[in-house]
């Protein structure tokens, strides 16, 4: 498996994703600058977190117009894997690769802490190594992670088994008390209908090594590796 990490001006989790892929998951990975129209031949494209273009206007709203995004959309349409984390998720929403939008967190404050998420679907390339219902401890760090969509979209997401992760308690219960940002239906991550594009607010690259407090996020990378290798 080969991976690419897209770098936008203002990306700041690009080196973290690169490190997790190269040094922990141990797959070949390269950076792709946002001005490059051409995407190298890779199996997985990672759109990392950060503040692309300073998040001016709206999170992810300007990044979607970067030259590289056309190739990323083509890559996704070809059925190959795309993982958008945090700001990367927001960019995927703005680019129309995933449905819905992001609102400010319900507290109106930036939140950085470990969150528990529950695996809702394990029949995806991103979650194959998890049991259905398995909980993972993965950090969140965002000011706008309050996922929103209309009721029809939500129904469609559920009908097509697109809701992959939901915020929960350590023992897997969902509820407002365990939802850090107010997101609709406690959604933390969704895939597209073809299930080759995952957007998630929590950061698996920040929880891929025990020394960082949790290595649960590694399971997501290992699932991808297992599916694409």
């Amino acid at each position: 498996m080969k991976a690419a990490v897209i770098v936008f001006p203002g990306s700041n989790c690009d080196t973290d994703c690169f490190h997790a892929l190269r040094d922990v998951v141990k797959v070949p990975v390269e950076y792709v600058w946002h001005k490059d129209r051409h995407l190298p031949k890779v199996d997985l494209v990672v759109i990392p977190g950060g503040f692309s273009y300073g998040d001016y206007l709206r999170t992810g709203a300007i990044a979607r117009f970067s030259p590289v995004m056309e190739s990323v959309i083509q890559h996704a349409n070809d059925g190959r894997a795309v993982l958008g984390i945090c700001n990367g998720f927001q960019i995927l929403l703005e680019a129309g690769l995933l449905p819905g939008a992001m609102l400010r967190n319900k507290t109106l404050e930036f939140i950085c802490k470990h969150a528990w998420i529950r695996t809702e679907e394990n029949l995806t390339i991103f979650t194959g190594q998890m049991e259905p219902g398995e909980t993972l401890c993965v950090p969140i760090a965002h000011g706008e992670g309050n996922y929103y969509c209309d009721d029809d979209t939500l129904k469609s997401l559920h009908d097509h088994s697109q809701v992959v992760f939901r915020y929960c308690s350590e023992d897997g219960k969902t509820g407002d008390a365990f939802n850090p940002n107010g997101s609709k239906d406690h959604i933390a991550g969704i895939v597209n209908k073809k299930k080759n594009v995952l957007g998630m607010m929590p950061h698996p690259e920040r929880s891929s090594e025990a020394i960082l407090g949790s290595s649960d996020g590694l399971k997501i990378f290992e699932s991808i590796l297992n599916a694409l290798e």
Binding site: S11, H19, D55, C112, P139, H203, L212
Partner: protein, 755 residues
């Protein structure tokens, strides 16, 4: 303000309005051999302000360099205080750390969000200007009584501003300290610290070497924001200060992120000669300092400076403190390479001048001379004053404390609960959860530990950092308080298993023209030096912030200390909190009848009184050596220092910060009572005697730990066990960990989210 152009006559009023004294004006005339024009007057006024010239503190700050020179391991101090934008210390394997702490108090008092945000931006530029990649941020904050709405507004704004800038930059804010006290009402303190990592052979100097080398202006455009900010920072806050709002800069962290990446990319080429950020005093400071350091001249033409406003005159362009700008000196012939890098990052990179022969900083405006000043005179030859000192009158009364008049409370449980819910002691998670403290995936100890700990990828090393200052101690006894500030920050670093390697300080005081304030300043610095000498920690630099006074009076003297430690093998790190049931708990260090200046005395008896605890530096040093030896042998499960609230609060923190909510059963305090003569129970439980830590140890390692303590001459007393789900001390304390957690965690969110 009347228009300021070349025809403006230099009147006595205009000179006074620039904060320049008659003697200083004469000095300027001597330097120039003529009267300055208005542009030059403005340049002198910002460069000779306290903020840039340290004119009132220099004679005292020199004592740091003198102390450094007497320390062992001199060779590890790669960049010394005052030489460059930040100090640098060798950490081995070809790597070094570059760090500094700086204040942004006055801007934050007027506009908390932007004031704090640009404070972060400024300190980060100081780090990457040296060629280092910033890897962590810390901050030390002081506000008035949190019950006051104005304090809440400032607290909320400052925290959001720091979060805004640091998070967007992608540099984790990993810790710091926050205290609340009425003395900071109207004059909060915002001290930001940054640390970067650098290869020893890639250190960049802020010097304009090489006659004919081009001088580039890179980064954001220049506007009228922050005009004269350095001068603004050098006066007391008054009721009218809010009218100074234009002197507060506006930050753009996205721009700074691009600037940082571009500068660090430039560093990897061989085109770079020198770099200097345009912070306080903007283009004036950057131009004359780079020339002065290289003993060259610099000539620029303002016509090339990118601007965001029309009609700006030379005076404004030179004094603007618009953020996110740098001056870069590159090798002649490498211009294209340099311009390509900045173009990649969509940044301005404009050649505005070049390095010249001679010693002048010459500023042209479309080919017409706007200013010409000897660079060294402007940068380094500012006036230096030895201020009058006088022991403050308040001390005699404030230091009085009659212990016999202090009645011990009946209910120690109630005291513990009150302490845990005092905002200075209670959890600051509300603060640090707004900071991205994990980005870069190197944060090993999160905020809330004694010290933050960051791994260095590609090595086994870890960098531990702690900031500290108990300003009530400094108020009550500046010398002892200064000593303790160092000891405590160093102890925090040592508790994590790291050896202190360097120290930066941010000296926040009132108006230095007042002899009593200057006496506080001098004594606190003497205290810092005493501790650094014994603990062998070099001072790498820092910042002085005077004039921290509001109409209510001066703040408590607050010499904030940031200590950086190195751990060679990060697997030997030691967490602060208890880890396993059944581990044995020891108290290391002796306990005396010391409740003066304690939070117990303040909260329970309403007294900010007495002599603070005495620091015995030999004992402190022995304690550090014991902890480091035990950590190196992996014999410590946890180690936590005793600070505000003493033994009981320290034990409570070890319980409530443990992941599993572990309790502790403490029955062995009689061993401590034997030490002193008639040790009071309130002193034993809540006193703040220095040089003490609580450690937990696996039962099978007890003997070795005792042997290590004996070797260093450290008193070690087995006091109990990690056990159950409550903190129990003899018959006096019994509180469940759940209840303590509720008080500790919820106090600040409850206040801040009530509105």
């Amino acid at each position: 303000m009347p228009s300021l152009d070349s025809t403006t006559p230099i009147t006595a009023e205009l000179i006074a309005a620039h904060g320049i004294t008659t003697e200083e004006y004469q000095h300027i005339r001597d330097i120039l051999g003529r009267d300055p024009n208005i542009t030059e007057l403005g340049m002198f006024s910002v460069m000779w302000s306290e903020h840039c010239s340290y004119k009132n503190s220099k004679p005292i700050l020199k004592l740091f360099s003198k102390m450094n020179a007497e320390l062992p391991r001199q060779e590890n101090l790669l960049v010394k205080p005052g030489q460059e934008n930040a100090g640098i210390v060798d950490i081995g394997d070809g790597l070094a750390v570059c760090f500094k702490i700086e204040s942004h108090n006055h801007p934050s008092a007027i506009e908390p969000f932007q004031g704090a945000a640009t404070g972060v931006g400024g300190i980060l530029r100081d780090i990457f200007t040296m060629g280092a990649r910033p890897i962590l941020l810390m901050n030390s904050l002081r506000f008035g009584d949190l019950a006051q709405p104005v304090s809440q507004r400032l607290f909320r704004g400052v925290v959001a501003g720091i979060a805004h800038y640091g998070n967007c930059m992608g540099i984790p804010t990993v810790g710091g300290d926050v205290y609340f006290d009425a003395s900071y009402e109207g004059n909060p303190l915002v001290n930001a610290m940054a640390l970067g990592i650098i290869k020893k052979d890639e250190i960049v100097r802020g010097a304009a070497h090489g006659i004919g080398n081009p001088v580039y202006y890179v980064g954001a455009t220049t506007g009228r924001d922050g005009l004269g900010g350095a001068a603004f920072a050098s006066k007391e806050l008054s009721e009218q200060s809010h009218e100074d709002r234009p002197a507060v800069q506006v930050g753009d962290p996205f721009m700074e992120k691009l600037l940082m990446e571009a500068c660090l990319e430039l560093l990897k080429t061989d085109a770079l000669v020198g770099m200097q950020d345009m912070g306080a005093a903007g283009l004036t400071c950057a131009g004359c300092e780079t020339a002065s350091r290289a003993s060259t001249g610099v000539e620029i033409d303002l016509a090339f400076v990118p601007r965001r406003e029309t009609g700006m005159i030379p005076y404004e362009i030179l004094l603007s403190e618009s953020q996110e700008r740098m001056l870069v000196i590159v090798k002649k012939g490498k211009e294209k390479e340099v311009e390509d890098i900045f173009e990649k990052w969509d940044l301005h990179a404009v050649k505005i001048g070049e390095v010249t022969k001679g010693d002048k900083y010459r500023v042209m405006d479309s080919g017409k001379m706007a200013a010409e000043i000897p660079a060294k005179a402007l940068a380094d030859d500012g006036p230096v004053y030895t201020r009058e000192e006088e022991k403050p009158a308040y001390l005699e009364d404030a230091q009085k404390l009659d212990l016999t008049a202090i009645h011990e409370p009946k209910d120690f449980n109630a005291v513990l609960k009150r302490l845990l819910s005092h905002p200075s002691i209670a959890s600051k998670a509300w603060v640090w959860q707004q900071y991205d403290h994990m980005v870069r995936t190197d944060t090993v100890f999160y905020p809330g530990h004694d010290a933050a700990l960051i791994r260095v990828k590609g090595t086994h090393k870890g960098i531990a950092v702690s900031t500290d200052c108990n300003s009530l101690y400094v108020y009550l006894d500046p010398l002892e308080g200064g000593k303790i500030a160092v000891a405590e920050a160093a102890r925090n670093v040592v508790c994590s298993g790291a050896r202190p390697i360097g120290l930066t300080n941010c000296l926040n005081f009132g108006n230095p023209m007042k002899p009593e304030i200057f006496w506080q300043f001098h004594n606190a610095v003497s205290g810092i030096i005493e501790s650094c000498k014994t603990l062998e920690i070099p001072v790498t630099g820092g910042n002085v912030s005077f004039y921290n006074e509001s109409p209510q009076g001066a703040i408590y003297p607050t010499p904030t200390i940031g200590v950086v430690g190195l751990i060679d093998n990060i697997e030997k790190r030691v967490p602060s909190a208890f880890q396993n049931e059944g581990d044995v708990i020891f108290l290391a260090g002796e306990t005396f009848n010391e409740i003066g200046g304690s939070h117990y005395l303040m909260i329970e008896h309403g007294l900010k009184q007495g002599l603070p605890p005495r620091l015995n530096l030999a004992r402190e040093k022995a304690l550090h050596q014991f902890i480091l030896a035990a950590a190196d042998g992996k014999k410590l499960v946890s180690c936590h220092d005793l600070a505000e609230g003493g033994l009981t609060v320290a034990l409570a923190e070890c319980c409530l910060k443990s992941e599993a909510g572990l309790g502790a059963r403490i029955q062995g305090l009689n061993g401590l009572r034997k030490h002193g003569t008639a040790l009071r129970d309130d002193a034993l439980y809540f006193g703040e005697t220095q040089s003490r830590v609580v450690i937990s140890v696996k039962p099978e390692h007890q003997k070795e730990v005792k042997t290590l303590a004996q070797k260093q001459g450290v008193a070690l007393c087995e006091i109990g066990k990690v056990d159950g789900d409550a903190l129990v001390l003899e018959e006096r304390i019994h509180v469940s960990v759940r209840e303590m957690t509720n008080l500790f965690e919820n106090w600040i969110p409850n206040i801040m989210e009530r509105q």
